[in-house]
Symmetry: C4
Subunit: 345 residues, 4 copies
Amino acid sequence: MLINLHDYEAAAEARMEPGAWAYYSSGVGDEVTLRANREAFARIRIRPRMLVDVSTCDLHTTVQGIPVTMPILIAPTAAHCLAHPEGECATALAAGEAGTLMTASTSATRSLEEIATAATGPFWYQLYVDHPLEDLTDRSFSESLVRRAEAAGYRAIVVTVDAPRFGVKEREERAQFEMPEGLSMANYPGDLETEPASLTWNDIAWLRSLTSLPIILKGILTAEDAVLAVEHGVDGIIVSNHGGRQLDCVPASIEALPEVVAAVNGRCEVYMDGGIRRGTDVLMALALGARAVLIGRPVLWGLAVDGADGVRRVLHLLRDELEQAMALSGCSTLASVGAALVKLP
Amino acid sequence: MLINLHDYEAAAEARMEPGAWAYYSSGVGDEVTLRANREAFARIRIRPRMLVDVSTCDLHTTVQGIPVTMPILIAPTAAHCLAHPEGECATALAAGEAGTLMTASTSATRSLEEIATAATGPFWYQLYVDHPLEDLTDRSFSESLVRRAEAAGYRAIVVTVDAPRFGVKEREERAQFEMPEGLSMANYPGDLETEPASLTWNDIAWLRSLTSLPIILKGILTAEDAVLAVEHGVDGIIVSNHGGRQLDCVPASIEALPEVVAAVNGRCEVYMDGGIRRGTDVLMALALGARAVLIGRPVLWGLAVDGADGVRRVLHLLRDELEQAMALSGCSTLASVGAALVKLP
Amino acid sequence: MLINLHDYEAAAEARMEPGAWAYYSSGVGDEVTLRANREAFARIRIRPRMLVDVSTCDLHTTVQGIPVTMPILIAPTAAHCLAHPEGECATALAAGEAGTLMTASTSATRSLEEIATAATGPFWYQLYVDHPLEDLTDRSFSESLVRRAEAAGYRAIVVTVDAPRFGVKEREERAQFEMPEGLSMANYPGDLETEPASLTWNDIAWLRSLTSLPIILKGILTAEDAVLAVEHGVDGIIVSNHGGRQLDCVPASIEALPEVVAAVNGRCEVYMDGGIRRGTDVLMALALGARAVLIGRPVLWGLAVDGADGVRRVLHLLRDELEQAMALSGCSTLASVGAALVKLP
Amino acid sequence: MLINLHDYEAAAEARMEPGAWAYYSSGVGDEVTLRANREAFARIRIRPRMLVDVSTCDLHTTVQGIPVTMPILIAPTAAHCLAHPEGECATALAAGEAGTLMTASTSATRSLEEIATAATGPFWYQLYVDHPLEDLTDRSFSESLVRRAEAAGYRAIVVTVDAPRFGVKEREERAQFEMPEGLSMANYPGDLETEPASLTWNDIAWLRSLTSLPIILKGILTAEDAVLAVEHGVDGIIVSNHGGRQLDCVPASIEALPEVVAAVNGRCEVYMDGGIRRGTDVLMALALGARAVLIGRPVLWGLAVDGADGVRRVLHLLRDELEQAMALSGCSTLASVGAALVKLP
């Protein structure tokens, strides 16, 4: 019975090749942060209000001015073809059908143009800034990705800022996972060898000058960086610890959210990802100031179980849980979801 | 050996059909609140006073002016006939024999008139406000229930305010529980199809105008709603999270009790239900300001194990444990059970 | 290998009849306080001081002016003959040999006179104030016990104040424990039927007028009662929850100790029992203001394993652990064990 | 797969004789502090900064003016020959090759001169101050050790101050571990029988007068002692609980570090050991004010698994993890690792 996201997780694990499962599921180090991403929600309490008219609950909102039918977006994750042959194209199809927005990853196994073509709704482009092995300052390939994204109709650039290097996922290493024959990072020319660039705020300024698309920083976890982000003119921040996959022992995303929201103080939109599995998790994040949340692994689970249909079902399950949570906490609109709705531990 | 309520739980589970057990026992979502209802008591400490004359401990009190022999009432729960053929009639018989009061549920499997006839003590009526499928504002059936309750001798209307929709109990879903042939919601005409109404404070005003019976709101968890309840002239509040069955991640009832008591500030009676299994649990709730507690599932366990006798035994066990807890903490009367008796975590 | 008190516990359980073991080991209710008595120590931190001359550590002290070689006394516990045929006489022999003091229980299976004769060191008498079934106010039997204790050379009266009724130990009930043939409460005439009296402060005044022996109240857990105790002229207080056997959910003894010590403010001696198993536990209690600690169950374990030799060994093990803990925390005398030595959670 | 220090622990346990393993791995008492040394790290959160240029991270530092390539040193531990025939000589070889410093223990199974000869980098000498059985004040053997250390090129004297007696490791006792035939405390003449001296601050003054080498106190856990250490002119403090092997229930080293750092206030260098297993652990300690950390048991694990190569590998693994943690938290230099990088529980 697939009636919640945990069910999809178990079903996906049963279907996927163990190495690929390890690649998706593992966290860095001792997985302290991976676990914290879930455990932190169980310590927050929702303070529900009664006797409010919740005969209809309106979940529509906008992100960067783009209308979506719910404050639940698809986070960028790599290599969807590991889960399903249609890969990111199936995800893009499902996202629009579910009335929401997909963020396509630079590490997609379908090209950004293919994804754009398959999409039935709005989409954002997640950018890893790379450099060729021989020149740390060469940003030409990243620039070309931004240009291609603009041309293909992407509506924002989501720059991942927490990955100057990639975290070591030991479960993945022990599983000796290797990308299967025939799967490749489809946005990259076959002969291009790159490494992650150690981005700085200067790169954000450069990117700001490069494109008029909204720029969203993904991976901010502190008030200090949130202030700098605003000062550098970004349009959005995704509070994220990369699904517990970059640096272990950093805060759960939901733990870091309040200080970022307070520091931003309304000057740009703030989103969060990390550990969202239930409608009540979404409600807590919204109450703490997130404009929307993004889900990563659950989308892959839906994809592994049933392709685009699975992704759509996962999105619908979470949407329905959120609507139920809003109704039962006395919130008929997202505007009524405020800080008084939760009690922190 | 059936010497405490946990024993009755185990014995009831062993006797009941698994689907019906799932229906009774499950909570919503990940059951965070269901567990919290129990765990919260284990973090509170009783500060017992010594060398007080406790040769007799007086547990008599009144609720809404009605005398009861102990501050332990029967909470409304659905479908007692799942536990025993006599259903709510057996419960009503046992309640009076045990010197306390039963709250009959709108979702009873015996009609409110049958229950009233069987009762040997005072009884309250729990009202779910429904509306016919075609008209959200039609309150005529609810009005008829109130009139029937008045006519049958019910002494208060307990309005459930936390259920504009019903929570999804996944264990129940997985068990594919369906009400057995022959069991029906006995208060409803066979051809009536209704849905829960999304109640508002206006409905409370309407109800207030409809009946002179005391009105008690069940399901309040915040100080804000408690203040509104008092302002709307209600006579009592039951701090409750519906046994962890409506919205997950809301506070344990005992966690929410202090803020409600403080906000009410003596302007109406405050009760609580949720997780009460021991006399020390009752004592803690009383010390934190509850005038009485209500027990739900334990009554069903008693009923499943031994019908009316089982219910009476459950009530007696809990009464005896409370009396023992009062004696050993230096309280010979309920009036002496005050805030200094407990230390919150 | 019997190298710590936990080892003695396991060995005693292996040797004793299950019912008798249940009688000794069980706590009341859900055993929340029984567990808390141990768990609370693991949350306290010792702040050790270095570079102090600890080539010798002096553990000698006095309790009520009586010299003992260590601040570890024997708590009153019932029915030592369940553990060993010599019963309380073996315990009394071992206590003196180990250089400490035994508290004999009213519920002993050897008479207080036999115990006094067997003793090789000082001893106190623990008094349960009973009344005959027919007269709640008749204190004549208790008075006779005090007179007998005085005559037999007991040096203080330890009045248990937390037992106006006895707690229900469910594990004991399930084991259907009954006192074996031939074992009896040796201080009671065979035809005397009594019940615990619901003591009040007036009884303490009466007792004060009755005897010039020091009066120590056992079972105080709050600052309020500690103040009253001092005002009633008692000579000592044992902070105790009766080994988790009277009222569940009261504080661990070590949790309650600081408020009692602060309230007493040096006006009488304060001791504690409950959960002491390690020298570091004793050190924590001393640092928090206890003049000495008492151990109950560990004495019974020693007795069950090896009679008087086992009791002596248990006392020596704990004494050696305390001396080691003092040395390694920079305390060469008990006077140097102060509040700065510990950090509460 | 040996990809982290936990792997080395498991591999070493599998290879070593159980008694020797118990000797290395056990803690004192109930091992509360042994566990706390690890658990405390999991409650601290790293607050990572983004968009800092971390294309290179510089881990070089100095300790007592001695350059090392990373702030990870080798703590003194006894009897390396239990892990590998080359014993401390293999460790000394590996330390220098890994670019760091070894602290040789007085309880080494190779003489301090042999270790000095084998060393490829700088080395410190850990001193246990002993006295002959017959004369508690005779420091002549300790003086000779200091003179030998000076002559052999040791660069500092690390005085262990938390061992006026040795802690009782019960797992070791139960394993009935005895030093194998042929292994001996190589720094001691065969006929010398000594006992640990109960050091005082006077001994520190004496030592200060004896040598011009830097003096580092190992085993300080309180602000009070840290102040005294500074006042006695020491050059460094190692915050340590002796790997949980001396007094149980003292704070985890990382818990005690902040108060020592605050009390020292820059007047000498502060290091810490205890529970370091991950690069993130090192980063937390540095952020809380440690100039460097020392690792003990992990070195023995590496030695047991693969001699000098294993030690080098353990050091490299931890170094690489630290570099990764610095890069992913926005620290390109050790100077940028400050208090704002962590959040205490």
